[in-house]
């Protein structure tokens, strides 16, 4: 039910509450926090990708005035802190003791009175390295005789990390044996970096008198980080307080625990003063959570125009430490969503991972882990299959979509899709684009020597982990929480276990409470990020805030509404069963004037409680979702390629998203446009690459390119709404849909311009030189 303007519950495009401080320059990001006596920590990073540490001499650095301490791996080893566990059950060096295993690896830390002095001191540390052969690709890593990267691990005699499979191999092989057409694609989803504008950092403050450890930290998951800190450091968990203040973008980059956090905390503990570490951009780019780096081979089997089988082989480059941020038991993440929006009866996926001399910490860059790669693979394969068959890519999709009446739909790899209307979303996109006319224009343009391409992507995501019995990170079940406190005057505070990094939780979650309890959204304050002050939760990533914490907020509102009913009955001297709820009040059935408002009830909860009922109107709900949610959409991109340079320009970009019920449509569209831009960046320019010696190319924003306003396309946004049947609000989550779905649409558009000449693949990013090389190969270059 829609709420009025004074309540502004779900469905209202309310301007955001959090804007007020950001607009005034009064945000409170980690680097904005200073404490008395605060010291600064800077990290010395390895210049080499693979080298043995012969010696570290810090004498001169320690002698520099203003330097308080130089910390090495040996010093940490004395406290059992030289290594830490990763999110994937591996180990990672905090400060290197034996070898450095990637360029940029943390070797030593300087703590000084100022960051300038600390940086000066880094230059004075003398490290003697014995350079070893670097391994910069997973193919090299798994080749016979490759240098062993993880010689620190007992029993690890190769660079192989994992083998993982999903689906039914035999059934899939049978489908391929019976197929009359097989379409295949080899493609590399390159390494990129989420690059939130704020780098990672922390301010650690161990109180020497009480032992209380407060860490202000760029964390997407403060509660999980507290637990991991307790395990790593051995500090009692109740004495650790993680505060994640305003966060300048996360996109997955702020999910892992980094050596800098551990060093700053250890330094504060040892020195007894607050220690701040703020990474510089180069450190952020070369050492923190990268994304993708996935070599993929896919094959699609068809009988006539029906897709009958799909098999995919994967090789992941995990860097020097297996630190992927993934649900524990899924070694290749949720890649097995690869059947996408299509009713493909058989599928099999197998993946292997390899150590290389590259940065660790594969993160889900604005997606559920590996869903972006999966979506890319199927959408590229389907588009190519249509070219091989000589039919329109939209037609092949429409013929093979899972139909609306097939939901709940169990995929060949075992996901149970909650709801969807894939033909509906595609039709909206095609109509909006004027698809048929555009196809005609494309032909005419081609006849005139111009290369226009139209690319589609009809993605299905899987987001909102748990259920906890299936999805865990480092053993922690993926539920989430909401605690609601309605005060006597009817104002409320909502405390969450998730943490916004720009998504607008302070507004969206207030609207959920407004919807459910009729308390105006202005009267609800949302608090998150402080582990001393919020219920335990797994954090914000994988589009899980609305699907999980949003559900928790709705559920606790409903629980409090039931208590409110008891109080209302007492106030109205009526039976509970005679009361009816409408937004913000209970009234006696048939007598709408006999009513009490939620504010009246809140006051009574503290002043006039019926006998036998506990005082107060507060509660907490831990929500373990019964299933994931499956947002979907159809994206359509039109490009024109310059035959002289290979440069391509987006002429149109239509995005139709279905994320179920929309709580704040303005915020939803903001999320989508941001994701479409990051998808464009990944398709067009964002590349972290390495030379043969393992040197990182892409270590500043001068080399690692991000889309600016100039080249970012104009977006045409549209929607369909198919609520999730198992979510209390029908919402599915939307923060990542566009990053997941859009790269394939951009690439398909470029390929579409060249498909008539036989081009079927160009690996991302589609830089001008790569496109020009493809043009040249098929004789289309000018």
């Amino acid at each position: 039910m829609a709420t009025g303007h004074e309540i502004r519950g779900m469905g209202h495009s309310v301007p955001r509450k959090e804007d007020q401080r950001f607009l005034r320059g009064k945000g409170n990001y980690v680097d904005d926090i200073s404490l008395p006596g605060m010291l600064h920590l800077e990290l010395l990073r390895s210049p080499y990708a693979h080298a043995r540490i012969v010696s570290i001499d810090a004498t001169e650095a320690e002698a520099l005035p203003g330097v308080v301490a130089v910390i090495t791996g040996e010093a940490l080893a004395a406290h059992n802190l030289a290594w830490m566990p990763t999110l994937s059950g591996d180990t990672q060096a905090v400060l290197a003791t034996d070898k450095v295993r990637f360029q940029g690896q943390e070797v030593a830390a300087v703590v000084a009175e100022s960051a300038y002095i600390a940086k000066d001191a880094l230059q004075l540390i003398d490290v003697d390295y014995e350079i070893l052969t670097a391994v910069s690709t997973p193919q090299q890593a798994l080749a016979e005789g490759a240098p062993l990267i993880r010689d620190d691990k007992e029993g690890q005699d190769s660079n192989h990390i994992y083998h993982w499979e999903a689906g039914d191999r035999e059934a899939t092989e049978r489908a391929f044996a019976e197929a009359d057409r097989v379409v295949s694609l080899d493609t590399f989803y390159p390494r990129c970096h989420p690059s939130p504008l704020e780098t990672c950092g922390c301010l650690a403050d161990v109180n020497p008198a009480t032992g209380k450890t407060t860490i202000y930290m760029t964390s997407q998951a403060p509660h999980a980080h507290r637990t991991l800190f307790a395990i790593v450091t051995g500090l009692p968990e109740h004495q650790i307080r993680i505060v994640s203040p305003d966060i300048g973008g996360g996109f997955g980059n702020k999910v892992p625990i980094y050596p800098g956090y551990v060093c700053a905390t250890a330094a504060s503990l040892l020195i007894g003063r607050p220690v701040k570490w703020i990474d510089d951009r180069t450190g952020n780019l070369i050492s923190t959570g990268f994304a993708r780096d996935f070599h993929m081979h896919g094959e699609l089997a068809l009988q006539g125009d029906r897709m009958t089988g799909l098999k995919v082989k994967l090789l992941s480059d995990n860097g020097a430490f297996f630190a992927d941020a993934q649900p524990t038991k899924f070694k290749a993440g949720l890649f097995h969503i690869v059947t996408g929006s299509y009713d493909i009866p058989t599928a099999h996926v197998e993946g292997d991972g390899a150590y290389t001399n590259k940065a660790p910490g594969g993160v889900a860059y604005r997606c559920s882990f590996r869903v972006t790669e999966a979506s890319y693979m199927i959408e590229r394969l389907v588009q190519n299959a249509a070219y091989d068959m000589g039919i329109d890519p939209s037609e092949l999709r429409l013929k093979n979509f899972i139909q609306p009446e097939q939901f709940p739909y169990e995929s060949a790899t075992g996901f149970v899709y909650d709801s969807g209307d894939y033909p509906g979303a595609l039709k909206v996109a095609l109509d909006r684009l004027g698809y048929d006319d555009l196809r005609q224009e494309q032909l005419e343009a081609r006849a005139g020597g111009r290369l226009i391409g139209i690319g589609l992507a009809c993605f299905t995501e899987v987001v909102g982990a748990g259920p906890g019995k299936e999805y865990q990170i480092a053993g922690l079940r993926m539920f989430d929480s909401a605690e609601l406190r309605v005060h006597p005057t009817g104002k409320a505070i909502l405390k969450l276990g998730v943490k916004s990094q720009g998504q607008g939780h302070e507004t969206t979650f207030a609207q959920i409470i407004a919807q459910e309890l009729g308390i105006p959204y202005e009267d609800v304050e949302v608090q998150e990020g402080d582990t001393d002050n919020t219920p335990y939760g797994l954090g914000t990533y994988a589009s899980r805030s609305t699907p999980v914490a949003g559900a928790a907020a709705a559920m606790i509102s409903r629980e409090l509404r039931e208590k409110a009913r008891t109080i209302a009955a007492h106030l109205l001297e009526a039976a509970e069963s005679d009361l009816e709820w409408e937004t913000g009040r209970f009234f006696v059935k048939g007598s709408p004037d006999q009513a009490v408002t939620i504010q009246d009830i809140a006051f009574a909860a503290y002043t006039n409680i019926p006998d036998g009922l506990q005082a107060g109107l507060e509660g907490v709900h831990y929500y373990d979702p019964p299933n994931m949610t499956f947002p979907f959409g159809s994206y359509a991109v039109v490009v024109e390629i310059d035959r002289g340079t290979g440069a391509w320009k987006v002429l149109r970009m239509v995005a139709v998203d279905d994320c179920g019920t929309r709580i704040n449509p303005m915020i939803v569209e903001g999320q989508i446009m941001g994701g479409l831009t990051e998808g464009y960046g990944i398709a067009a320019m964002q590349l972290i690459t390495f030379d043969d010696d393992g040197n990182c190319i892409g270590s500043t924003f001068m080399d690692y390119l991000l889309p600016t306003a100039w080249e970012t396309p104009v977006f045409e946004i549209d929607q369909t709404v198919t609520p999730s049947p198992h979510h209390p609000l029908g919402a599915k989550g939307v923060g990542e849909s566009a990053t997941v779905g859009s790269p394939a649409a951009y690439v398909n558009a470029v390929i579409d311009a060249l498909a008539h000449a036989g081009v079927r693949n160009i690996d991302m990013p589609l830089t001008s030189d790569r496109v020009w090389a493809a043009l040249n190969e098929v004789g289309l270059a000018e």
């Binding site: 320059g25 973008g249 990094q501 569209e669 990051e678 500043t700 600016t708």
Partner: protein
């Protein structure tokens, strides 16, 4: 061999958001650190260290400058406007209102620099086209919004400022 470079300082006077501020600073102190740490104006952010992202943009004598790649001493005698100086007696500056109404910000980290660049544009060009806005802010990276709402926000502010003038 230990390097003990002597600390070289200089006294500078700058007008920051209308107020004269004098301080003795190290010659090598970056303008952004002078603003954030010496003057505690933390609304100016640091995003990249290489003049690429524009999070640290301030107006130096009215011109957008990336304060992560300027020394504080270079600003001696000049006037600086930071995000903290946008607020007027009448409340939010039109550019702040525009960003709020059009949802031109998400995480807020690029917002101060983005707004200051836009203010400089609007002082030169009170009615810019989409293309002129996109070109003007192309030295300021936003990772959250996709820019479309920022373009709308600048139009919103432009209309407000034209009405007000």
């Amino acid at each position: 061999m230990a390097i003990e470079a002597p600390v070289v300082t200089r006294t500078i006077t700058v007008t920051v958001n209308g107020k004269a501020r004098t301080a003795e600073v190290e010659n090598r102190l970056l303008l952004v650190h002078f603003l954030r740490e010496t003057l505690a104006l933390t609304g100016t952010h640091i995003g990249c260290d290489t003049t690429s992202c524009g999070a640290c943009t301030v107006l130096l004598d009215g011109v957008p400058v990336k304060s992560c790649t300027a020394f504080a001493v270079q600003a001696d005698g000049m006037s600086i406007r930071t995000v903290e100086g946008l607020l007027g007696d009448a409340g939010l500056h039109p550019i702040q209102q525009g960003f709020h109404e059009e949802h031109g910000l998400q995480c807020g980290f690029c917002t101060p620099g983005m707004m200051l660049t836009a203010v400089a544009l609007l002082e030169e060009n009170p009615d810019p086209s989409d293309e002129e806005i996109r070109w003007a802010i192309s030295g300021n990276v936003c990772r959250c919004t996709g820019y479309q709402n920022i373009v709308k926000a600048v139009h919103n502010a432009a209309a407000r400022m034209r009405e007000g003038s």
